[in-house]
């Protein structure tokens, strides 16, 4: 298991996200609420800079008793939307909301001594 330093946690908290180089690969690190996420900064759709996209709560829908469609914002799921075409990925899993077969690599993130690190190991590699 190897770790790559991203920077100070308070800087990431303030910025919301940062894109860093991890062993030659561009990786976006996000701070949302109390959580930290890291995703490969390359959209599997057409190669766009995914981690430059906005982070929003997922829009969901349910049916009411008349089977009419009621849309709502799901505050338990944050997505990053690729700025090229809007394709949404779950920050926790890297899975595209529109198609479970489409996913971007995610990395574990740890905080040590006030600094954020991206974890690079074999298990993360297998996710690709």
């Amino acid at each position: 298991v190897a770790e790559r330093l991203v920077g100070r946690v308070e800087d990431l908290r303030a910025a919301g996200s940062v894109v860093v180089d991890v062993d030659g690969r561009s990786v976006g690190v996000f701070s949302v609420g109390d959580s930290l996420y890291a995703l490969r900064n390359r959209c599997p759709h057409q190669g766009g800079p995914l981690c430059a996209g906005v982070v929003v709560d997922a829009v969901r829908a349910r049916l009411d008793e008349r089977k009419h469609i009621v849309e709502y914002v799901d505050e338990t799921t944050q997505v990053v939307a690729c700025p090229w075409h809007g394709v949404e990925f779950d920050l926790r899993t890297g899975v595209a909301l529109a198609d479970p077969a489409l996913r971007v690599r995610t990395y574990p993130v740890v905080v040590r001594d006030g600094h954020v690190h991206v974890v690079v190991d074999g298990s993360a590699e297998k996710q690709r």
């Binding site: 997922a58 089977k67 009419h68 075409h85 949404e88 909301l97 529109a98 198609d99």
Partner: protein, 385 residues
């Protein structure tokens, strides 16, 4: 010529006499429409479908406006025998343009009168002649009431929705009462388009076509694409997962095109259709079927084989003749597809339709035995639905 009855034909028509439809209507529509129906509701067209006698128009049974109901029945059975059809679904093509009618109560009265006429004078489950009540978009509650009223008749195999000029398109939640009624009675919905005037009146940017070859080439297709898009993204299959939906009259090649196209749009704009839990094509693969006519005929058979592969055609496609219309398909269009096994052809010609339409409300019908026998004698047993 009589061929073994090995086919369930999911789309056929006859040039029915609707001048007498007023007899089935209640007042005030009985007196308001008496004697004027045929002229008023026949589709207008920018060309002669029979190409100035190049195509044999006697296939339309001559001037059926003068035929009595018994004679109409005889011609239907002659056509079934000529094509090898064991059971046929009669779609009332003179109602294909009902969506363009602006008078709400008249549309409701016409639909009710037509299904009563069909059930009284034409349809007969025992002889494999089935009908579909047409529900227009104008009044969903009245449509649901009509379905409830006629659904117990064994000659009703489904419910027909016309895809031309529906406001709003059929995916809208305002049509929930119609879909609920279909599910309540185990009836599929059959989406049937219309032809030449779809694009002359349904979409302004196509006004001005100069010939039927232009309007008819894409009229049905665009209507079906509009309704399929609406039904997918508004989640009809999620609101009513038991509902089976059959699209007719636009051939097969648009099916995988729409699957891939809607999938790509969903990838980019999922937040606008958040009810969907899978890519659109997955709903197509589970809830939708497609009539084969007018089937495309690429010279390289691998092109059509690819269509069957992409759209799960062996399970999703149902043979439709559209007989006797000018662009009807003979069963040879499926027989000649060499990449289909005999088992595949049994599915497309009969088995898939047996699983979709409601044929056994009145118990097992004689035509079902004839259908099984026709396949057994050709070495391909076909279980009943």
């Amino acid at each position: 010529v009589t061929k073994p009855p090995r086919i369930v034909d999911t789309d056929s028509h006859y040039a029915e006499n609707i001048k007498g439809l007023w007899k089935y209507m209640n007042e005030p529509w009985r007196s308001r429409t008496r004697g004027r129906l045929a002229e008023r509701y026949l589709p207008i067209s920018i060309g002669d479908r029979f190409m100035d006698d190049r195509i044999d128009r006697t296939r339309q049974f001559g001037d059926t406006d003068d035929l009595d109901p018994g004679a109409v029945n005889k011609t239907i059975e002659e056509c079934m025998a000529a094509l090898g059809v064991a059971a046929t679904l009669l779609v009332p093509n003179k109602f294909a343009l009902i969506g363009h009618l602006s008078v709400r109560e008249m549309a409701v009265a016409l639909c009710n009168a037509h299904i009563d006429y069909h059930l009284n004078e034409v349809a007969d489950a025992a002889r494999g002649i089935y009908t579909l009540p047409v529900v227009s978009w104008h009044d969903p509650e009245a449509g649901a009431a009509m379905i409830d009223r006629v659904a117990d008749n064994p000659a009703v195999a489904g419910v027909c929705l016309m895809t031309s000029h529906t406001m709003p398109p059929w995916g809208d939640v305002r049509y929930n009462p119609i879909y609920e009624a279909c599910v309540r009675h185990g009836l599929p919905v059959v989406m049937h388009g219309d032809s030449g005037m779809t694009l002359t009146e349904g979409a302004g940017y196509a006004d001005g076509f100069q010939s039927l070859i232009e309007s008819h080439s894409i009229g049905f297709l665009v209507s079906n694409e509009i309704q399929l898009t609406s039904m997918i993204f508004q989640g009809v299959a999620i609101r009513y997962p038991e509902l089976k939906i059959v699209f007719l009259e636009s051939g097969l090649m648009y099916v995988p095109m729409m699957m891939y196209r809607l999938d790509e749009y969903f990838l980019k704009r999922r937040a606008e259709a958040p009810l969907l839990e899978m890519p659109p094509s997955e709903y197509v693969r589970r809830h939708f079927w497609f009539g084969t006519q007018p089937i495309e005929a690429p010279r390289d058979p691998r092109a059509m084989e690819a269509i069957f592969e992409m759209a799960d055609g062996r399970d999703r496609f149902v043979f439709a003749s559209d007989y006797p219309h000018w662009d009807y398909d003979d069963p040879i269009t499926i027989d000649r597809l060499s990449f289909l096994s005999r088992e595949d052809k049994a599915k497309v010609f009969a088995l898939n339709a047996l699983g979709v339409f409601r044929f056994e409300k009145g118990g097992k019908q004689p035509w079902q035995n004839a259908l099984s026998d026709a396949w057994k004698t050709s070495g391909q047993p076909v279980p009943s639905s």
